[in-house]
């Protein structure tokens, strides 16, 4: 083929399609691409890594990050951050087992109580940030300490009589049973993903979130109740952290101390890998979902490689940097 013939070849369709997308949507695609790449590399190194069973197992672990990251995405979209995730999650998990005592009869009220705890911590965070002008980093950092102290103190360092209870069978089933050959937990994640996408893309509430994240003064002048929105979003973040705690304790059976610690940085990283701008105003939950899968799949590949602890930690950090450098850079200034 001559060089001249090449120039008149029409652009491939996928390229046109990609160009027609907004940069934010393109980032969501990149995030799914990154997840697929990790699975492909895993399959190359360990035939069977990409098998249905293995993918299901990875998706279940990724869903825990995905739940927490849903709340994190909401507050990051308005330029905030929620550092109180670890101990809200941990406190919620312990509250679930101690209030239900593992009995199915008390499962419903225990779940509601636990979700209410998440909403309450989010309410306090939101009030401090929106009405008392405490920086989000400080307010949620303080709240993390407050929840840590309360959780440890009230449960006497997880030595209380009811602390060793298991999550009720009914709650465990929601996470661990199989529906149509797929773990039930994944349907829950699908529901969260659909709800989040609908909320962000198809409702006034969602439009307001992006408006605040892009320019909160303009949003305020346009008549949006920025403070109320902020409070609501932090409440949702608390709710999702509590949901993460419930699902995690249902999966593991019992609560442990420190079980929430990995979810702080993972929830932020998942959102950012998914193309959510840490400065607010840009991003979709579908990206966060892909980011969660990428992170967990990456860890699974490294585990399958029998990589020592230190190597996993280094590769993990390095991979986040590479992904960020690939598509997370800010625009060139001047």
């Amino acid at each position: 083929m001559t060089a001249g013939a090449e120039t008149i070849t029409p652009e491939p369709r996928w390229r046109k399609l990609l160009a027609s997308l907004t940069p934010d949507r393109r980032r969501v695609l990149y995030a799914f691409g990154a997840a697929a790449l990790v699975f492909a590399v895993g399959e190359l190194l360990h035939p069977g890594f990409g098998s249905t069973a293995s993918i299901k197992a990875i998706l279940v672990i990724a869903s825990f990050v995905g739940f927490v990251a849903a709340g994190q995405t909401l507050v990051i979209l308005v330029g905030g951050i929620d550092l109180s995730v670890p101990w809200v999650l941990n406190g919620a998990a312990i509250l679930l087992v101690t209030s239900s005592l593992g009995r199915d009869g008390r499962a419903a009220q225990a779940v509601l109580l636990t979700l209410a705890l998440g909403l309450l911590t989010g309410l306090v965070n939101g009030l401090g940030i929106a009405y008392l002008a405490v920086p989000a980093v400080v307010m949620t950092l303080g709240m993390n300490g407050i929840m840590e102290g309360l959780t440890l103190g009230v449960s006497k360092g997880l030595t209380c009589g009811s602390c060793a209870s298991y999550a009720p069978k009914a709650v465990q089933d929601v996470v661990r049973s199989n529906v149509l050959g797929v773990p039930a937990d994944l349907f829950l994640w699908l529901a969260v993903a659909v709800a989040m996408t609908f909320l962000l893309s198809a409702t006034t509430f969602g439009r307001r979130i992006y408006a605040i994240g892009n320019n909160n003064t303009a949003a305020f002048l346009a008549g949006i109740n920025v403070r109320l929105m902020t409070v609501v979003l932090y409440m949702l973040s608390g709710l999702f952290a509590a949901l993460g705690g419930i699902v995690l304790v249902a999966y593991g059976g019992q609560a442990t101390l420190g079980m929430g610690d990995p979810y702080l940085f993972q929830s932020i990283a998942a959102a950012v890998i998914g193309g959510v701008s840490i400065l607010g105003g840009r991003g979709h939950y579908l990206g966060t979902l892909a980011g969660s899968i990428t992170l967990v799949a990456l860890v699974s590949v490294l585990l399958a490689e029998n990589m020592p602890d230190w190597g996993r930690s280094v590769v993990y950090g390095g991979a986040i940097l590479v992904i960020l450098l690939a598509y997370g850079r800010e625009r060139q200034q001047l």
Binding site: I146, E148, W310
Partner: protein
């Protein structure tokens, strides 16, 4: 940020107003420190019927030193409107390096101290280059490097252990006399000089308004890299002091400094919006946090509730700061 900021119309200020606006948060930090010291002495006296003496002062100073260094580094980055989450990993790494490689003898101690500080500077430079040239958000860069430095620390010292020479402990964290106060004085002097150097002035300039600073010929990228290099170096010094205080190493002992260094910076009155504050306030903030733990102990509060009171105290202290800033009419 989420709150609606309103830009006040420009008005000229008197010298005195400028001074109060720049120094009000620092004064507040010093007042909180004085109050916390008073509370500590009072509770101590109530429990033991005597005043805290040389031993208690030495213990407070030695416990505070690693945090003082980590937090001063953190404040330099916060002044540029950045955030350095990797200080925890850097302390892990430098603490492990010191505990595994340093041997008795002036030569080994000197060489390894310098090497460890160099490692800190190099780690900081990596952060700085990624922020300045990679155009990535500081919080994300340092989140990733935190993981990398933590990994390298575990590689260096897989299980807690190792040791640092006794003489080293005597020099950095003398258990008999509060000689650590000399290092605090040194930091204050270094800060007062640094604040007036080209780099120091530029850091404040880009923290206040990056575009304006660029227009005035500030080399924004070089300044940012400089700030992260300093943060890494200070974190490394914190790692050395931690090794000296605990006389051994632990590849995870630095992790707490991610959050405590931020807390000390906040208590020290440094604005998260950059360009306002003083590292002297941060030093006060670090001592406030150490004293708070002692106060809780002497108030016979169940140690399990310790983080509860720390978190509550942090939020209340910030509210006080916000209130005072509103009164003197300064932003963020």
């Amino acid at each position: 940020m989420t709150s609606v900021t309103q830009v006040p119309p420009y008005r000229s200020r008197t010298r005195f107003q400028h001074f109060t606006i720049q120094s009000a948060p620092l004064l507040l930090a010093l007042i909180i420190l004085a109050g916390m010291t008073g509370l500590y002495v009072g509770l101590f006296y109530r429990q033991l019927s005597r005043f805290p003496g040389n031993f208690e002062l030495t213990s407070v100073v030695n416990t505070s030193m690693p945090l003082v260094f980590a937090a001063v580094g953190q404040s330099i980055v916060v002044l540029t409107r950045g955030l350095d989450l990797s200080v925890g990993g850097m302390i892990d790494l430098t603490n492990s390096l010191a505990a595994t490689h340093m041997h008795a003898g002036a030569g080994s101690m000197l060489v390894w101290s310098l090497l460890v500080l160099l490692v800190g500077a190099a780690g900081g430079a990596i952060n700085g280059v990624l922020v300045a040239y990679g155009r990535l958000q500081p919080i994300l860069v340092t989140l990733a490097t935190l993981s990398i430095y933590q990994g390298l620390a575990i590689k260096t010292l897989p299980a807690p252990g190792g040791s640092v020479p006794l003489e080293y402990t005597k020099i950095l964290a003398n258990p008999n006399d509060p000689t650590g106060l000399g290092f605090v004085a040194l930091i204050v002097v270094i800060w007062l000089v640094f604040r007036r150097t080209r780099l120091g002035v530029d850091i404040f300039a880009i923290g206040n308004d990056e575009e304006a600073a660029r227009a005035h010929g500030v080399r924004v990228r070089a300044t940012k890299i400089g700030a992260y290099v300093l943060s890494g170096t200070f974190a490394a010094a914190g790692g050395l002091f931690l090794a000296a205080t605990t006389t051994s190493g632990d590849a995870t002992s630095g992790d707490v400094f991610v959050l405590t260094s931020i807390a000390a910076v906040v208590l020290g009155g440094i604005s998260f919006f950059g360009g306002r504050g003083s590292a002297i306030g941060t030093v006060a903030g670090a001592f406030i946090l150490t004293l708070l733990i002692n106060v809780l102990f002497f108030a016979s509060i169940d140690p399990l509730y310790q983080s509860f009171f720390q978190g509550l105290f942090l939020v209340v202290a910030i509210l006080l700061g916000t209130l005072i800033r509103r009164l003197v009419g300064m932003r963020g």
